[in-house]
Subunit: 212 residues, 2 copies
């Protein structure tokens, strides 16, 4: 939902979108890849990069990529959760920067949310600002990239409301950390999503196994 | 040669080494992987990560990863050469940061050389300093990483002399951009290496096809 709204927001600013999808061994990677293509179709994205990042499984250390670590379903706790994938967004942005440099793109878009989120360190404005600097320092002089984070300071209900306003196909998006057919409704990602829909006083079009 | 000296330098500071090797579709990846293991054996590195980064081939845009772009052999020119792989060291350091965070490592070592090199933007101290900040901002609060760049301000001859002083097994290292059996002797990487040995007034133990 967040990445999708980011893409629609950036498209509304007048940019053509190059879609980038990462399969990094996350539990729901096949569902997410299908969602990616369906959303790209809706957004008329012609150029798509679907990258297979198998090495994340070797690194492991996260409930999303290591099947021996259980995805927590008891509610959001403070601190960095076990679903944190070490420096994931740093890796994603670095790879996206390489694609952007090759394609002559101007903006990298990412749907990070700072406050109303799971508490991942790689979703903060401090990190994004520093990463912008690193990318511009480490690429060619005439490669000048901005990282657009249209959701970074939004609450989850504002994300839902803006997605509705921008006609984002929410039924095509997927947030659940563990299931591909029916969203579990109880992992942190489902809980945050459902909280957004509840506070926005509207219903989520995707199917759930359990709604708490 | 540069990565190897970096590893030996950091080992001498008293650190245990975790070896990380990237096969990213570079022309000499099999030779480099064999060299990696032989060097790790010599350095008694027990923990080794060998990562397959196939997505670099999809990105292409470099003579190292795209077989349709010829590796230049006419001598080093000013500017960023066609062997530049977009944001390669940014991607490498991001992945290494994830491994370091998982393993609780303190230092990321990289053999970048700023002045006496091919002119890649991702080999500069400005980039490394910024990347250090990004990695620390985008990882957990108790993950504190330093990037060690023991070669960054060395000239090529100083690299050769220090490697000899530290008993680096130079015969196991490989620098050529295009060949795996006999180093070509004429690509930028061979030229820089050979210049270092010549100025250090010693001979390179690896076999060459051509020595200019």
């Amino acid at each position: 939902m967040d990445s999708t709204l980011a893409a629609y927001s950036i498209k509304r600013e007048g940019y053509d979108i190059i879609g980038v999808h990462f399969s990094y061994g996350q539990r729901t990677q096949q569902k997410e890849l299908r969602s990616f293509h369906a959303i790209c179709d809706d957004l008329h994205v012609l150029q798509r990069h679907t990258l297979q990042l198998d090495f994340f499984k070797d690194i492991g250390a996260s409930a999303l990529t290591d099947r021996n670590i259980t995805v927590p379903t008891g509610g959001i706790e403070s601190g960095v959760p076990v679903t944190y994938v070490p420096f994931r967004n740093g890796i994603f942005l670095s790879i996206a920067a390489a694609i952007a440099e090759k394609e002559g793109a101007e903006v990298l878009g990412i749907g990070v949310v700072e406050e109303d989120s799971s508490g991942y360190p790689d979703c903060t404005e401090t990190f994004i600002d520093s990463m912008t600097q690193s990318i511009n320092a480490g690429t060619k002089e005439d490669t000048i990239l901005r990282i657009a984070t249209p959701l970074i300071h939004l609450k989850k209900e504002a994300i839902v409301l803006k997605a509705l306003q921008y006609h984002v196909p929410l039924h095509l998006t997927w947030s659940c950390y563990q299931n591909e057919r029916l969203a579990c409704g109880v992992c942190d990602s489902c809980r945050l999503r459902l909280k957004g829909f509840a506070l926005a006083d509207t219903s989520d079009p995707i199917p759930y196994e359990t709604v708490t």
